[in-house]
């Protein structure tokens, strides 16, 4: 009973990356190419909008960019305040880049490794984005609080929480990278499974349905990545005045945390 399934599983190709070794280093050339394509699409769209940018009635492309930038600015204003203006371009670049990169999944290609796989399905890109964000967060925290204040926050609110605080700081980049990678990678696997396990005359329909769902998941993940970036910067830029004072005594009726 399980033999046909195992036999089918043996034929499934999950080799998504075209690896090339150069100078002792391994490069996933199709991921790199897809990253360049995604970057070119984002920058091309941005340059198109920039050339036609007007303070009058905006065109559709400008309107789409303004909607995203405006939403990010309002979120930053709400969480961080005016000092968080520098986070807006980073959050916007992350959102746009991750979205376009993930939507490269829609481009049909032959068997894996495809020429243009979604680069967000490669841990190298998601880890690079996560490291960039976390390094930026820590740098911003040191600049805002000073080195002493930055180190002190690892021992707040109680000194013996230091291991947990340290673990939290290590978990942030890992969760950022793996969340995005896992969602896109799982989508890539599902596409392969649907294509391989369904008969050819049936497979297109579930493939279309799955790819539409994958588009929605990509949008969500881009949103989550950008939002978490903003929240991490908010925590990093919070000073002692912003932190809530420790509450003493039991909660009063109607009191909200």
């Amino acid at each position: 009973m399980t033999q046909p399934i195992l036999a089918a599983a043996e034929a499934i190709n999950l080799d998504f990356y075209k690896a090339v070794t150069f100078g002792g280093f391994t490069f996933h050339v199709n991921t790199i190419l897809a990253t360049v394509v995604a970057g070119a699409v984002v920058l091309g769209a941005g340059l198109y909008v920039r050339r036609r940018a007007t303070a009058g009635v905006p065109g559709k492309a400008q309107l789409a960019w303004e909607v995203v930038i405006g939403a990010i600015e309002r979120q930053v204003e709400r969480t961080i305040g005016p000092r968080g203006r520098r986070v807006v371009p980073l959050a916007f670049a992350l959102f746009a880049f991750i979205l376009i990169a993930s939507w490269l999944e829609l481009i049909p290609g032959g068997p894996h490794p495809k020429a243009l796989p979604p680069p967000t399905g490669d841990i190298n890109l998601t880890a690079a984005l996560a490291v960039l964000v976390i390094v930026g967060v820590h740098a911003a925290s040191i600049r805002a609080k000073g080195l002493r204040g930055y180190l002190r926050h690892y021992f707040r609110p109680m000194w013996w929480l230091f291991p947990l605080n340290l673990l939290e700081e290590l978990a942030k980049p890992m969760s950022l990278a793996l969340r995005l990678f896992g969602n896109v990678f799982a989508g890539m696997i599902m596409v392969v499974l649907i294509a391989e396990l369904f008969p050819p005359f049936v497979a297109p329909l579930p493939l279309v349905v799955w790819k539409l769902f994958a588009m929605f998941v990509a949008l969500l993940q881009a949103l989550i990545f950008a939002l978490l970036t903003i929240l991490y910067f908010e925590t990093a830029l919070a000073t002692d005045e912003d932190e809530p004072k420790a509450q003493v005594g039991p909660m009063q009726p109607g009191e909200v945390i």
């Binding site: 599983a9 043996e10 499934i12 190709n13 999950l14 080799d15 998504f16 990356y17 690896a19 150069f22 280093f25 391994t26 490069f27 996933h28 991921t31 790199i32 990253t35 360049v36 970057g39 984002v42 920058l43 941005g46 340059l47 909008v49 920039r50 940018a53 007007t54 303070a55 009058g56 905006p58 400008q62 960019w65 303004e66 930038i69 405006g70 807006v88 371009p89 980073l90 916007f92 670049a93 992350l94 746009a96 880049f97 680069p119 490669d122 841990i123 190298n124 890109l125 880890a127 690079a128 984005l129 490291v131 960039l132 990678f185």
Partner: protein
């Protein structure tokens, strides 16, 4: 077995290339793409706010003009009422004055007429008396000079 591949959870040299690639994208977005768009958004926001402020100013002026118009109308009505009352008073006074003068003139004419009649009667009596004296007869009974009947009786 599944197709063998490297451990896909371990980054390799691609990590550095991806990092540089995204830094380039971020740098261009932050330096050249986001600022012009933000300036356009801010300029539009300022124009919208200026337009709204102008609209509110126009509404305020309209309300003030409406109030000034109502006050002017009320003031004009009050003045018109005063002028009308003054005119009525003057008219009444003139009417009364005219009536009084007419009455005085009437009385004066009546008195004058009576005086004339009395003088005529006296002259007539004197003439008769002289005539009677010249004739040597007793003066007749003075039946002349009946006071005229008042006019309109």
């Amino acid at each position: 077995m599944l197709a063998a591949t490297n451990n896909f959870l371990v980054p390799n040299a691609t990590f550095l290339v991806e990092l540089v690639a995204f830094l380039a994208v971020f740098g261009i977005v932050a330096r050249f793409l986001a600022p012009p768009l933000r300036r356009a958004m801010e300029r539009r926001q300022r124009e919208i706010e200026a337009g709204l402020a102008r609209g509110e100013e126009a509404d305020r002026r309209l309300r003030e003009a409406e109030i000034a118009y109502q006050e002017s109308l009320a003031r004009a009505r009050r003045e018109a009422r005063v002028i009308r009352d003054d005119a009525r008073a003057v008219g009444d006074h003139l009417r009364e004055e005219g009536r009084r003068r007419g009455q005085e003139e009437h009385d004066r004419l009546v008195r004058r007429a009576e005086a004339d009649i009395e003088a005529s009667l006296a002259r007539a009596r004197e003439a008769l008396r002289r005539e009677a004296a010249s004739l040597g007869a007793a003066p007749p009974a003075l039946s002349v000079g009946r006071r005229p009947e008042p006019v309109g009786s």
